[in-house]
Amino acid sequence: MKKLLMHRAAKPLVFVLCLLPFAWLFYAAAADQLGANPAEALIRGLGDWTLRFLCIVLAVTPLRVMTGTPALARFRRMLGLFVAFYALMHLLSYVAFDMGFEVAEIAKDIAKRPFILVGSLAGLLLALMAATSFNRAIKALGAARWRRLHQSVYVVAALAILHFYWMRAGKNNFSEVAVYGVILASLLGWRVWEALRKRRLSAQRPARTKVGNAAALQKR
């Protein structure tokens, strides 16, 4: 397993896999295969895949720790960038196909419809994270500040679920929202539980220095 994950072709392979849903949607849109309401189908498809990639990227650390596979961490940045990519494509297709690029209409729409506001906020946070995802940005921002910024992925998860919930509330249709909600909640729950466990452990071993703690966190 470890060999496979560390293989030279592993990263390019994951990259291509991550692009497949987008390629399919792009092809289907171009070939008019998206059904009676192609704009709605495209926007929804991109939104669905944003949520799925959010679940995948947040599953990396729990999987890595639970299965003892540190090699998984290699893929985290790329997966995170794909969350941002699908989110921005989702947002862009709303701007293009729902709003026809009319800035005044978009501003009105954001003010009028809270679920659009919440979605836009999540998109903004993801864009900030994507823009600071390269190594030099960590140095420039300082590790602590950079980490705090990138912890906003938890805020993004909450906003994304709220966005989806409010949208589906219009038609009382919550089954899919519940599925994503449970997955994201358990992935976040695992982190809380881990943090509490670590705190208990470090309370038992007070010798550990602050610097050591920070370094340990850094690795996660």
Partner: protein
């Protein structure tokens, strides 16, 4: 199912028809599932013969009316209506049917009748969506009696020259072209005359979002969907420009007087 072109004012819009394929594959009919493709996929199980519609409540000639009798009750007419969904999309559909007023006059409502309630079939055996708790079943919709009597309010048995496809509300449904689509109850099994405003399915589910009237109104936004514009289904795919939504879905000249003096922002 053939009809004569309708002479009712406003009943024959000249706009381009939505392709039959789109009108029969992109449906909201939650009794068969919440996805747009579910009704076309699942409605095959619906048994439409024999079919009766029960007329009850504040009416002289209550009773069960067989579909054959309803079909013959008045001359079938072709009507081409715009259909505006609350979700911000629209279609143009050629219906076949006659004004609901013909049936209402036949069954002679009492003077005390002020509203008409429409009840859709809720059969767990043939309608998989009825097991879900998305809405309270059976689906109930309603109109004020004067709205129901308006000549544009259609009792429909067919579309595109054939009997109604099951996913579109076979064998008999209501079509109210100036209201959001969900007001037009499908697969009717009961029509009840009452003196109280009916408790309708979507109003019970979310009263602040779905009012009893639910007239198409670009001025009153739904929290989920801006109602200022609409996407016309089947019109040039992804890049088709959205249409501006018209007051009463463009039927203001015909139905505006029904709401004279009413605050439509309150009575949405």
């Amino acid at each position: 199912l053939a009809g004569m072109p309708s002479k009712v004012p406003g009943a024959m819009t000249m706009e381009k028809l939505t392709p039959y394929e789109d009108a029969t594959s992109y449906n909201n009919f939650y009794e068969f599932g919440t996805d747009k493709a579910d009704p076309a996929r699942n409605a095959g199980t619906l048994k439409t013969t024999p079919w009766t519609v029960e007329i009850e409540g504040l009416v002289k000639k209550a009773g069960k009316y067989g579909l054959e009798d309803l079909l013959k009750l008045s001359a079938q007419e072709d009507r081409i209506y715009r259909l505006r969904c609350v979700e911000g999309w629209s279609m143009v559909i050629p219906w076949v049917g006659y004004s609901l007023s013909a049936l209402i006059q036949r069954v002679e409502p009492l003077g005390s009748a002020k509203y008409v309630e429409f009840v859709t079939l809720a059969d767990k055996a043939t309608m998989p969506g009825v097991s879900s708790r998305v809405l309270e079943w059976p689906y109930v919709e309603g109109l004020r009696l004067d709205e129901a009597m308006h000549p544009l309010t259609l009792l429909s048995f067919g579309m595109y020259g054939e009997v109604l496809p099951k996913q579109n509300g076979a064998p008999v449904r209501i079509v109210v072209p100036w209201k959001y689509g969900f007001k037009s109850a499908k697969s009717l099994v009961k029509i009840r005359f009452t003196d109280k405003e009916p408790a309708t399915a979507w109003n019970k589910a979310a009263a602040q979002e779905y009012g009893f009237y639910s007239n198409v109104n670009p001025e009153v936004d739904h929290p989920r969907w801006s109602q200022a514009t609409e996407r016309r289904i089947g019109e040039g795919g992804l890049f088709a420009k959205r249409h501006k939504t018209l007051m009463f879905n463009g039927y203001e000249a015909q139905v505006g007087q029904l709401y004279a003096g009413m605050d439509l922002k309150k009575n949405f």
